[in-house]
């Protein structure tokens, strides 16, 4: 595993150095920014979606709340130092609120409910004209330089991954895995499943809130469709699934692929604005049917096959 860590360290170092080495490669910085931000968000989604097994299609709500919180506070001349933590906490509190009814549902029903939650949040944002500017959204006149935000996104991504890594090896991680695989059995072993799910969602929501904050500052414009939109919400599901849901590196791989595919498709097929959805839909079907573990799952399978391990004998234990 040391080889992997070195590779990661090299990549991170490259990412850090990049803006200094190529200060005018604006497009590249934009793309990398997006990758880091998406990576952070996809990884955070994975806490609840992958580790805990509760697939949420409504995560855009958290992103949006964070974005709008920052926008509104900054516009009221409140310092970033306050705006960002608020943007982190607010979605977290929201997640607690929606967790109460939502976690009463199991599996696919929970997922469908999250679609509703995401949509409802968007509608609320759309209608609170006074606060959110309704359909026309909000703009920011001044913002920190993009390079700073680039590093912020990188930092968030690192933090998000760090949290994921910590969870995986911790007691909490065991609880999440138990909840995912067999919530009833987990309960009889003393795992408070609802509390566990709520905790995972809370952390996930907070990370997305910060991401929303960064997003708002970078693009200096947000609207209900851009941050609360359904396509945003499903991107959080698609990315980890493509890369490997439930793993640490999976969401990152997915984020890279997602960003590249989108960029390429918009460049090539300017007419077909939904071509990316089509592509991801097909990809999703392919993955679900052939390799639910995503790219990482595929790699693992191929590796096992080349090693040709004999099947484990079923012996009297």
């Amino acid at each position: 595993m040391d080889r992997r860590l070195i590779a990661v360290a090299v990549l991170v170092a490259a990412a850090v150095v990049f803006p200094f080495a190529a200060p005018h490669a604006e497009y590249a910085i934009d793309v990398l920014f997006l990758i880091f931000l998406y990576g952070a968000m996809a990884t955070a989604w994975n806490y609840i979606g992958g580790f805990a097994g509760q697939v949420s299609f409504g995560h855009a709500a958290f992103l949006g709340i964070g974005a709008y919180a920052t926008m509104i506070l900054i516009q009221s001349n409140i310092s970033l130092w306050i705006a960002v933590p608020v943007s982190a906490l607010l979605p977290g509190l929201y997640s607690l609120l929606i967790g109460i009814p939502a976690f009463r549902l199991r599996g696919p029903y929970f997922s469908i409910a999250t679609i509703g939650i995401g949509e409802a949040t968007r509608l609320i944002a759309l209608n609170l004209n006074g606060l959110t500017g309704g359909a026309s959204g909000l703009t920011l006149a001044h913002a920190p330089p993009k390079v700073d935000l680039y590093f912020a996104a990188l930092l968030l991504c690192a933090a998000s991954v760090g949290i994921a890594a910590w969870i995986k090896g911790s007691r909490f991680g065991y609880a999440l895995a138990a909840v995912r695989q067999d919530p009833d059995a987990a309960e009889t072993l003393g795992v408070a499943t609802t509390v566990t799910k709520t905790q995972a969602l809370f952390v996930s929501a907070c990370v997305l809130g910060v991401a929303g904050s960064i997003y708002a500052l970078y693009y200096q414009f947000i609207s209900p469709d851009s941050v609360f939109g359904f396509s945003t919400a499903i991107s959080f599901v698609i990315m980890p699934i493509i890369g490997g849901v439930g793993t640490i590196a999976g969401p990152l791989i997915g984020a890279v692929i997602y960003t590249f595919v989108r960029e390429q498709l918009t460049a090539l097929l300017a007419n077909f604005s939904n071509a990316d959805l089509l592509a991801f839909g097909l990809l999703l079907i392919a993955i679900v049917v052939f390799e639910p573990g995503g790219i990482l799952g595929l790699i693992r399978r191929l590796r096992n096959r080349t090693r040709a391990k004999p099947p484990e004998p079923v012996v009297d234990g």
């Binding site: 009463r104 997922s111 949509e119 839909g281």
Partner: protein, 272 residues
């Protein structure tokens, strides 16, 4: 106005039944498939129902079958992927422009006891009832219908008593998608639509299902009535764009108070 809404939901409530869990979700995916034939008038269902049945059946055999063994969330994701593909194809083929059907039929109204009702709505309502009755009869009276219900309750037991489970699931899925197509076709008479259309409706149909409880058609019909009434009331007091929120709020309230849905809770209360 509230009549209109009630009529609409009379149509919406048709939901695939077999394997009460995940196969039902097929319906939510394909609601909007109707845009495909939105350009035809009243006769469209004659084409749609068989065509969609075949599509659904084919879908089940090729894709859905493979994921039945895994957790239900996998099939949800699969159908979600299918939905994505279908929706984007619709965008590509028909663009995002709003479409609607205009024939004299659409404009016609009927005078019923002093109230002017739009003919299409009456038609949709009646069709909804017809489908409801037909479906209920099919499920209770025919061999195939009972086979479907048996499979929904316990797949292995059904297999043991000789039900060809594979065939049943294909058929059930096909019926579900056909009904979705039918619903969409009827709705095309009432509304203008874009490829996004089904999205919002599928959410409502989900609310209806949860309200009504997952196992009974009657419950679903009941749920749709409740929901449409709630929305009708809401329209009076709230701005139109918040209307959709109502169904969601109702859903949340029901979930907190009665996790088994209204019918399920009533049943449980009866049992004591």
């Amino acid at each position: 106005m509230s009549y209109g809404l009630a009529l609409i939901y009379g149509v919406l409530k048709v939901i695939n039944l077999a394997n009460a869990g995940f196969l039902m979700l097929g319906a939510y995916v394909t609601w909007w498939l109707f845009t495909t034939f939105g350009l035809h008038p009243l006769l469209a269902p004659l084409v749609i129902v068989p065509l969609f049945f075949v599509v659904g059946w084919g879908l089940e055999r090729t894709l859905v079958r493979r994921v039945l063994g895994a957790e239900p969330i996998i099939s949800l994701l699969l159908l979600f992927g299918v939905w994505l593909v279908v929706q984007s194809l619709a965008y590509v083929i028909w663009t995002g422009d709003s479409r609607s059907i205009e024939t004299p039929f659409i404009e016609a109204t009927v005078n019923l006891g002093g109230i002017q009702l739009a003919l299409p709505r009456v038609y949709a309502f009646l069709m909804g009832i017809v489908v409801l009755v037909a479906l209920q009869l099919f499920l209770t009276r025919t061999y195939l219908g009972r086979a479907i219900r048996a499979t929904a309750q316990d797949r292995d037991a059904a297999r043991l008593v000789g039900v060809d489970v594979d065939r049943v699931m294909g058929i059930a899925f096909g019926i579900g998608i056909a009904l979705a197509g039918l619903g969409g076709s009827l709705l095309s008479l009432l509304f203008s639509f874009t490829p996004d259309f089904g999205h919002e409706l599928s959410l409502k149909s989900f609310c209806i299902v949860v309200l009504g409880g997952l196992d009974s058609i009657v419950g679903v019909a009941f749920g749709s009535i409740v929901l449409s009434l709630a929305e009708a009331f809401g329209v009076r007091y709230m701005p139109a764009s918040l209307q959709n929120l109502i169904s969601f709020v109702v859903l949340v309230v029901v979930l907190i108070a009665m996790p088994k849905g209204i019918v399920g809770t009533l049943r449980a209360m009866r049992r004591g």
